[in-house]
Symmetry: C2
Subunit: 161 residues, 2 copies
Amino acid sequence: MPIEIPRPSDLPAILDVTRSTGVFSQEEVETVQELFEGFLDGPEVSGYNFLSYRDGEAIGGFACWGPTALSKGAVDLYWIATSAKAQGKGVGAALFRAVVEAARAAGRWLIVIWTSSRPEYQAARSFYQRMGCQLTVRLPDFYDYGEDLCVFTLRIDQLQA
Amino acid sequence: MPIEIPRPSDLPAILDVTRSTGVFSQEEVETVQELFEGFLDGPEVSGYNFLSYRDGEAIGGFACWGPTALSKGAVDLYWIATSAKAQGKGVGAALFRAVVEAARAAGRWLIVIWTSSRPEYQAARSFYQRMGCQLTVRLPDFYDYGEDLCVFTLRIDQLQA
């Protein structure tokens, strides 16, 4: 499954993928745009890296990750999204593996994912667990009353390459 | 113990306090300066709020805190520092209580402190535990091999006011 670094012209397609999931708010779509613009300015400055799955002419999914501030070993996995059309084909897993490889190539050893306990993220939480991540902490009422912080982590220096 | 919002002219004194602790690197002193400049630009924009303890003409300690991104309930307590001269007088505890009250006044219910397992922060970790904070997560090798992330939290909506 071909995972590559997206081109500047892929921004509209990446926003379309984000919208097509049906999970993200307009504010979150705008956040993806800001992260992509940071990526275009240079990942070494912004800290935002993108990977995408190209399905013919379309973008079927993308991931955004970057080194964690103040840490020598951690990377934050900010987003993984697969378009409605491309779901169920293992695109998310291929993107996840590509992030792990990119983090490893950057000399990092820990993947960290901050997410929410909201019901619409249940599929995402299950996905991270299938990818081998552990729910390291669940902090009640962190985002709002009834909406907990869930932090998943994966040690990639203890995996077989 | 008088805790107040510092004045713009207090920047050099706040940097002196930071240096006098002997715990922080030059890079960390520069970070305090950036946070203070963000505070002067406006806490509602930068998210950085300062409180200080004034000891006559001198600044004996300060705290920096702000609302946690994407959260309705949490605040990050970024720094508490007491000058070498003012240590052992309860300045840190007074600053901590003032941060709790400011967070409560802002409608927030959770104090979150990210810190490191480095030996020179042992006094800080003990301090947070004396203040009632719990070590919610310890994530091995987060900052570097052998340097763990320690996250302390305190629910302030479950305390007596």
